[in-house]
């Protein structure tokens, strides 16, 4: 698998490289690079030709002017050489010079150019001296004429002839410069001979000027044909024609190259079209496979989503189960703690009931004994009254006096008055103890703690309030607003417990100021009663309100509250299929309302 993949990769790379090389090859072959050097080369040839014609122009100027600057005849040579070198370097790159035709054309041009340069060089030399002599000629002749004019004693006719001969010779020479013919040359030779003859006839001072003139005319005779010949040779040299030939060859090669370029252009076009088609095909193919991949991808995504949803559902179920379990655990814990609390209370109740029972007996006999004591003392009083009445009958006055004294010292009269009071207060006290014990018994109902029974709620509330009185009396005034209640089927001790919790909470809600706790009862309808415990204490903040029935929730300092009171109460009321509501306003007070069914449904009683 891996091997085939590598092989296909290799194949792909190879074909890509192959296609790219073909493309590059065709591009290079069809590129206009050649025409770039073509225009360059063409331009160089044009410039060379331009220099050549400038050169010729300067030659024309040189042959007609006297004081000529020959620099312009030097520059074209330098420039043409430079241009030719540039041309050659371009053409060497183009490999044109390889064909015999090209080599021939180069050689032809170079030969013509060298010859021309050579001829121009000679032309310069000869032309310079020729122009000089031609310019000097009139002055030289005039000098001789002037000298002749100064000869006073000579033969006038002979002098005139010599003068005319000199003029003729000079003019012939000048004409010769314009129209170089053999006739003129012969004329000049004749003239020179005449001048030589004339010289002999003239005085010695004429010899030097005449020699000078002769020399210069001889020079003209010698140099003018040479200059003319050089000019002809220069004119005959086909430098421009060779340049034209090279230009034509360049054009021809360029046309050929252009044709080749066009052909390759066409190939390039065809090849590019094929490539584009191939690319299009591949694009379509790619798109299609992309579609397939997308489809599969989408399916995968869907499957994945489903899986995720399932996982989420499972997770949720698990979470729910876990939450339920947690709740159950919490409930168990709560129940457990409530059970513990109940047990504690129950045992406390039993203890209280036991004590009450035990205290009941002494109370009984103390009470009955106090009754008997009262009766007995009344009888004693009667007896003592009889004794006092009998006093005057006592004989001895001293005895009588000591009795009176003793009686007043003892304050018998006061004692006699006070004892019945003491007895009645004791009776009262003992009856109150009895009441307390009864209340304790009522509250705990230890005798029938877990039994459902029909109970008078007011009785339970009262005894509960009595028990809690010590907690309340310093904090709040208790107001009872009892309605008429039927007996209610309930677990009285537990209901008492609820009332106890509510009242104690209400007391705790009081601030520094003494408040009022109002306990109301009433019938909601035939089978429902309600009990309200309202206070005007600090109230419960809204955020705490929903937590107050949670187990272990407390706002009291650690150690003072278990946080179980209300939760326990809630549990108790729920067991009674009743409801407990709270309405609270911070700073105004809190009202707890407990609603209980008068009769318990059979199912609830277990």
């Amino acid at each position: 698998m891996r091997l085939t993949r590598r092989r296909s990769l290799l194949l792909l790379t190879t074909s890509a490289v192959l296609l790219a090389s073909v493309l590059v090859y065709l591009y290079l072959m069809s590129k206009a690079d050649e025409s770039g050097t073509y225009t360059q080369a063409r331009d160089l040839i044009r410039q060379i030709k331009q220099n050549d014609s400038q050169w010729e122009n300067e030659i024309l100027k040189a042959r007609t002017s006297i004081n000529y600057n020959y620099d312009p005849l030097v520059w074209p040579v330098v420039e043409m050489k430079r241009l030719w070198r540039a041309f050659e370097s371009i053409e060497t790159r183009n490999q044109h010079g390889n064909s015999p035709a090209w080599r021939q054309a180069y050689a032809d041009y170079q030969q013509a150019f060298e010859e021309k340069a050579n001829y121009v060089e000679r032309f310069k030399s000869h032309n310079a001296v020729l122009r000089n002599s031609l310019a000097f000629l009139p002055a030289a002749a005039d000098g001789i004429q002037a000298q002749l004019g100064q000869l006073a004693d000579a033969d006038a006719l002979r002098l005139h002839n010599i003068s005319t001969d000199t003029y003729d010779l000079m003019l012939s020479s000048l004409e010769f410069a314009q129209m170089t013919t053999d006739d003129k040359a012969a004329d000049i030779l004749v003239g020179l001979n005449k001048l030589a003859v004339n010289k002999e006839r003239l005085p010695l001072e004429f010899h030097a000027p005449i020699d000078t003139l002769s020399n210069h005319i001889a020079l003209i005779l010698r140099e003018q044909p040479k200059v003319n010949q050089l000019l002809e040779q220069i004119g005959a040299l086909p430098v421009a024609a060779h340049l034209d030939a090279i230009a034509m060859m360049l054009d021809r090669d360029e046309r050929t190259a252009l044709l080749v370029n066009q052909r390759y252009h066409f190939y390039l076009l065809v090849f590019s079209t094929l490539l584009v088609l191939l690319l299009l095909y591949m694009a379509v193919w790619l798109l299609r496979s992309f579609g397939e991949i997308n489809r599969v991808n989408r399916a995968l995504v869907v499957a994945n989503d489903e899986l995720e949803q399932r996982v989420a559902r499972r997770t949720q179920a698990l979470t729910q189960a876990s939450a339920a379990l947690q709740r159950e655990i919490d409930e168990r814990k709560l129940l457990e703690s409530q059970l513990v609390q109940s047990e504690k209370l129950a045992s406390l109740g039993q203890l209280a009931a036991g004590i009450a029972h035990e205290v009941n007996n002494p109370i009984g006999f103390v009470s009955s004994n106090l009754g008997a004591l009262g009766t007995y003392f009344a009888r004693l009083q009667d007896m003592l009254k009889a004794y006092r009445d009998a006093e005057p009958a006592i004989g001895p006055a001293t005895l009588q006096a000591s009795l009176v004294k003793l009686r007043s010292e003892m304050e018998l009269a006061y004692i006699l008055d006070d004892i019945p009071l003491l007895i009645s207060e004791s009776k009262d006290g003992i009856s109150r103890v009895g009441q307390i014990v009864r209340d304790l018994k009522d509250f705990s109902r230890v005798d029938s703690s877990q039994d459902w029974q029909w109970a008078n709620l007011h009785q339970g509330i009262d005894s509960t309030l009595n028990i809690a009185a010590s907690e309340l009396k310093y904090k709040a005034d208790l107001v009872k607003q009892y309605g008429v209640l039927p007996e209610v089927e309930c677990l009285p001790s537990q209901i008492n417990q609820v009332i106890m919790n509510l009242v104690v909470n209400a007391a705790h809600a009081m601030g520094t100021e003494r408040g009022t706790i109002t306990v109301r009862t009433g019938c909601a309808n035939d089978d429902k009663v309600w009990i309200e415990v309202a206070d005007n204490g600090c109230g419960i903040p809204a955020q705490s309100l929903q937590k107050i029935f949670d187990p272990f929730y407390t706002t009291k300092p650690v150690g003072q509250g278990t946080g179980l009171g209300l939760s326990l109460s809630y549990g108790i009321i729920k067991r009674h299929c009743g409801e407990i509501h709270v309405h609270s306003e911070v700073g105004v007070g809190t009202t707890f309302r407990v609603e209980l069914p008068v009769r318990q449904a059979q199912a609830a009683i277990r």
């Binding site: 007609t64 002017s65 030097v74 060089e121 000089n132 000078t212």
Partner: protein, 321 residues
């Protein structure tokens, strides 16, 4: 041709003057001032200067270019013929190196087309520096400062071509601008005295200017020495060097043909001619009148011309030559 003489005179004068005057105005003066010193790569110029003064270019390390082309002596050495590496006189007089780059060819016989070629020939010519380029390259390349210099200036090692290029580049900077005559040409017409201006006029009238023209006042053409007289017969003791360009081309027409030398700084580059036969300007001007112009000037005219020639001395490094 029966034409009346006076008329013919007029016709002849017209024939000659009309085209010459007309064209003389059209092409401007035949002499032009020196161009500015070209701005060339300073490292190459410096290398050239060093090489120019380096005797290692000669076979026995006794001669540098500067030994004969002394820049403090008008670019030559004042000798009739300088002594070569073997202590024997060279065939021809040493021409000035100043403004040589403006000459259309180098050497008296115009053998070299370029300064590079000139350097090439001088170094290996037996009588002159008598060396061999291979040896020169070896010697120069052995010098670390040259090696570094060439690497910096040319980006490559020392070789024959870079050596010659450096030498030629240096020589292209050896121009002597600001001669009084150049300043005259540039428009400062007051700088020449009346006599000097007359001298210039004579220089043109006698036809000196036919050959000594252009930017270098000569140096742009070849000319036969002895157009109107046989200089060599009169001088005697013919030498092979007297054949001039004939020695290069073998063409009979080139016998006694030489490059027309530049007249720039002519007053400070005596002796004159290829053979150094004219020790003074006067002697040289005399020879020129006799053999080249075929004319006899008045003493005054000659003196004026010589005065003019003295205005052609330029400056180098800010000092007159």
């Amino acid at each position: 041709m029966p034409i009346h003489p006076p008329f013919r005179t007029c016709a002849g004068v017209l024939l000659l003057l009309v085209p010459s005057i007309g064209l003389a105005q059209a092409i401007g003066g035949p002499l032009t001032p020196l161009p500015a010193v070209p701005a060339l790569a300073p490292e190459r110029v410096e290398l050239g200067r060093k090489l120019f003064n380096d005797p290692r270019l000669s076979s026995n390390a006794s001669l540098a270019c500067a030994s004969c082309h002394r820049l403090d002596q008008g670019g030559a050495d004042g000798q009739v013929r300088s002594l070569g590496v073997d202590g024997k006189p060279l065939p021809v007089n040493t021409p000035s190196v100043f403004n040589a780059s403006l000459n259309f060819r180098q050497f008296w016989d115009g053998r070299a087309q370029t300064l590079e070629e000139q350097a090439h020939l001088v170094v290996q010519r037996p009588g002159e520096m008598g060396s061999d380029w291979q040896v020169v390259v070896q010697r120069i390349a052995a010098d670390p400062s040259y090696r570094a210099g060439f690497a910096k200036a040319y980006g490559k090692a020392v070789d024959e071509h870079t050596l010659q290029d450096a030498l030629a580049t240096f020589q292209r900077t050896l121009l002597t601008p600001d001669s009084r005559f150049d300043r005259y040409l540039q428009g400062d017409t007051e700088i020449l005295s009346k006599d000097e201006k007359y001298g210039y006029a004579r220089f043109q009238e006698y036809g000196c200017i036919a050959c000594h023209q252009g930017v270098n006042i000569g140096g742009n053409m070849l000319q036969k020495f002895g157009v109107l007289g046989d200089f060599f017969a009169d001088r005697g003791n013919p030498t092979p060097a007297d054949l001039g360009r004939f020695n290069v081309t073998g063409d009979e027409e080139d016998r006694h043909v030489f490059k027309v030398p530049s007249l720039r700084n002519v007053a400070v580059t005596a002796p004159y001619f290829h053979d150094g036969s004219a020790p003074t300007l006067e002697a040289a001007v005399d020879v020129m009148f006799r053999y080249q112009l075929g004319r006899t000037p008045s003493t005054d005219d000659k003196a004026l011309i010589i005065q003019f020639l003295k205005t052609l001395t330029g400056e180098w490094e800010g000092k007159p030559l």
